[in-house]
């Protein structure tokens, strides 16, 4: 009989593309982790590096080579053999070397020259990204109890802006977070900062001092995540309601595939079955919806930040420009007025000082007619 190879096991725990370079088919995170751990030796994913002598001894035994061959091999394959500059002369790695031969370098040099001519000031996003990276990379915890165990799963999650205005970009994520497999969805929820959580509802022109008591985050605590046909509700507090019930009933009435529910605080990431690269939903405040995409799942590595207390870890944050007060252009706007006879436009933004100076007299009495709402700037989390 012809030696036919059996078809490769279509193991659904091995992630594969559903659409090439777009997203994967759904798979169970915990099983994926087991697949990797079954294939690797513990030393492969350990944080400690194996001793060089042990490595040499094992290699010689496995390949059947003598000590002399081993020494020769080591010298041929050492990083020194890749040195492209004369010994002793350490080149400046910040500059493109003169007379580049490689196409990448030629292009890079052209770009640098162009930038030098243009006098473009450094992008503020780059500045913040550099700073954030310095804070995160390779952080180790002080106590060993807080270290993330070897073989743990790390997920990279992108959270996007809610579509509240056309100026907000939909392709740039608002923030990127790292979470471990043993974290629960509730912890992710707590880490997502959205300005709509700080909004205060209501008109406060008559009682400007009472505004801070009514933050939406404290009032409307319900929220849910939607992954693969399951709504994960936040039920930690007595005020939380099941806001996904409406959608589920609506779907049932219209012959959609049935959706199920679960509790956010009881579900950990390793229990989920998800697609990598596929957009899911996070909804809070009843109608503030964010896209959530899980961009990457992998095993931990020794160069990751290993302090459990720092997770959920922010690795990237988009900083928005803040709107300043119309009057002083210095402070960030905190009050929003309409129908205001004193304001130059309708609506109008004021900082706290200018607002009170313009609309109230020294005794705190309201002057004139206007409606005032507390305003939370979109860049509040910068």
């Amino acid at each position: 009989m012809a030696s036919s190879h059996p078809p490769r096991d279509s193991n659904s725990n091995i992630p594969d593309f559903e659409y090439l370079d777009v997203n994967t088919k759904p798979f169970h995170v915990g099983s994926f982790r087991h697949e990797w751990l079954n294939r690797l030796k513990p030393s492969d994913y350990s944080y400690r590096r194996e001793d060089d002598d042990t490595f040499d001894a094992n290699f010689m035994k496995e390949m059947g080579v003598g000590a002399e061959t081993m020494a020769e091999l080591k010298s041929i394959c050492s990083p020194d053999s890749l040195r492209c500059h004369p010994e002793g002369q350490q080149p400046d790695t910040e500059l493109v070397p003169p007379e580049p031969m490689l196409q990448t370098l030629i292009q890079r040099k052209k770009r640098q020259d162009h930038r030098a001519n243009q006098k473009i000031s450094k992008n503020r996003h780059d500045l913040y990204a550099d700073e954030l990276e310095r804070l995160i990379v390779g952080r180790k915890p002080e106590s060993t109890a807080d270290i993330i165990p070897e073989g743990e799963i790390v997920l990279t999650i992108n959270v996007y802006y809610p579509i509240t205005s056309e100026r907000i970009s939909t392709s740039r994520p608002h923030m990127s977070l790292l979470m471990t497999g043993s974290h629960s969805l509730a912890e992710l929820r707590d880490a997502i900062c959205c300005v709509s959580d700080l909004q205060v509802c209501g008109e406060f022109s008559n009682t400007p001092d009472l505004a801070p008591d009514f933050i939406s985050k404290d009032l409307f605590k319900s929220s849910f995540f939607f992954f693969e046909g399951v709504f994960y509700n936040d039920m930690r507090f007595p005020e939380c309601q099941d806001i996904s019930k409406t959608t589920i009933e609506w779907a049932k009435a219209r012959n959609y595939p049935p959706y199920t529910q679960a509790k956010m605080e009881d579900t950990r990431f390793v229990d989920l079955t998800i697609k990598v690269g596929f957009p899911y939903l996070y909804c809070h405040q009843g109608d503030c919806e964010h896209l959530v995409i899980i961009t990457d799942i992998r095993l931990t590595h020794k160069s990751d930040c290993l302090d459990k207390k720092l997770y959920p870890l922010l690795i990237r944050k988009d900083r928005l420009l803040t709107q300043k007060c119309t009057v002083c252009h210095l402070f960030i706007g905190r009050w929003f007025t309409t129908n205001d006879q004193y304001a130059p436009s309708d609506p109008c933004l004021f900082c706290d000082k200018c607002f009170r100076a313009l609309h109230y007299d020294a005794a705190g009495n309201k002057l004139g007619e206007f409606l005032a709402y507390p305003y939370v700037d979109q860049g509040a989390f910068n």
């Binding site: 091995i14 370079d21 798979f27 040195r83 492209c84 910040e94 490689l102 709107q323 300043k324 119309t326």
Partner: protein, 349 residues
């Protein structure tokens, strides 16, 4: 960082094609070529967090050469390239090489091939990379952000690097032919013993009598034709003795598997499949199904353009609006001199 993807790929291809021409799989030769091309310099000139982004890009590109469908020599070159890039990168701490779960089998088979062929330096380098913890063990080869591209870019694989197809030779082996001819003989004998007369035998001729010799000659012809085509490229199989005809069945199978998947996804089909319509077309924003055999894409104009066309804003209102007002910019002069829009010179790639 995507702007330099093509340049990085062509630099890597240049190094690997030089390596391919030497016909060797020794790291010494590779490092000599590396030094000649001064490849470490590829990292110089980046600043800040761009170092990490660039490391990521170039390791990504190099990793693709380490995996199928490339030939064994190119894969060895890809491995050496990964090792060298990993060691020479300027990002601190080092950026890791992403290895997806689905590619693990290929890596293990490659290692086994190298061990069997006693390529000590190849095995050493691979095991050194594991020792240095140079790999991230991931779900997928790159991070996925649901980026739907309007134009499906065909990932162009360098033709010279791809492994020679050896499917026909692998299916029709000597053993198979022997077995076939044995079975054929048995069948003939059975037929004659069952049949009562000569007439009956000839009427139930379902099998060609000379099938086996013809099959063999066809395969041999194909093999000879392939050999003639590859006169310039030195056959790495015979040179290094890394794998015999029998062994490349696995690679051939994988190559066929990947090719069939690739054809299913590409927007532009190869010559052999031009009569078929494109199978996966989720990015299309066409008005109707694309049943035509010619691949002319009907591009619908954007919603904004169509709205401008269809919705007519009444003349007066449109004239009054000169520019949109910004709340912060309220205290300005009545007369504003015409501002020439700042023209930022775009960099020509």
């Amino acid at each position: 960082m995507d702007f330099c993807r093509k340049e990085v790929k062509s630099d890597c291809e240049q190094l690997l094609s030089r390596f391919q021409r030497t016909g060797s799989v020794r790291f010494e030769i590779f490092s000599r070529l590396w030094r000649e091309m001064k490849f470490s310099h590829i990292f110089y000139g980046t600043a800040g967090h761009q170092k990490r982004a660039f490391s990521h890009l170039i390791l990504d590109t190099a990793r693709s050469f380490f995996l199928p469908p490339f030939s064994f020599q190119i894969r060895v070159g890809g491995l050496y390239l990964l090792y060298s890039l990993y060691q020479c990168q300027t990002a601190e701490p080092k950026e890791q090489i992403r290895l997806a779960l689905k590619d693990w089998e290929d890596v293990k088979k490659f290692e086994k091939n190298a061990v069997d062929a006693q390529h000590h330096d190849t095995v050493y380098i691979l095991q050194q990379l594991m020792l240095l913890k140079a790999f991230y063990f991931t779900a997928m080869p790159s991070q996925l952000v649901f980026k739907k591209k309007k134009k499906m870019e065909k990932s162009v694989l360098c033709e010279e690097f791809i492994e020679r197809a050896s499917r026909p030779q692998e299916l029709i082996t000597i053993d198979l032919l022997e077995e076939l001819s044995n079975i054929n003989e048995l069948y003939e004998k059975l037929k004659t013993s069952v049949a009562s007369s000569e007439q009956a035998v000839s009427s139930i001729n379902l099998v060609r009598t000379d099938m086996v010799p013809q099959l063999r000659s066809t395969v041999v012809d194909f093999y000879k034709w392939q050999q003639k085509k590859e006169v310039t490229v030195e056959d790495e199989d015979s040179g290094e003795g890394t794998s015999s005809q029998q062994e490349c069945s696995e690679r051939a199978e994988r190559l066929a598997d990947i090719k069939s998947r690739a054809y299913g996804q590409a927007a532009e089909a190869s010559k052999s499949r031009r009569h078929r319509q494109v199978e996966v077309d989720f990015t299309s924003n066409e008005a109707g199904p694309s049943h035509s055999s010619s691949y002319t894409r009907i591009y619908k104009r954007s919603l904004k353009a169509r709205t401008m066309e269809n919705v007519h804003i009444s003349g007066d209102k449109w004239k009054d609006v000169t520019s949109s007002s910004y709340i912060p910019r309220l205290t300005t002069l009545d007369f504003i001199p015409e501002e020439k829009p700042k023209k930022c010179k775009k960099f020509k790639w």
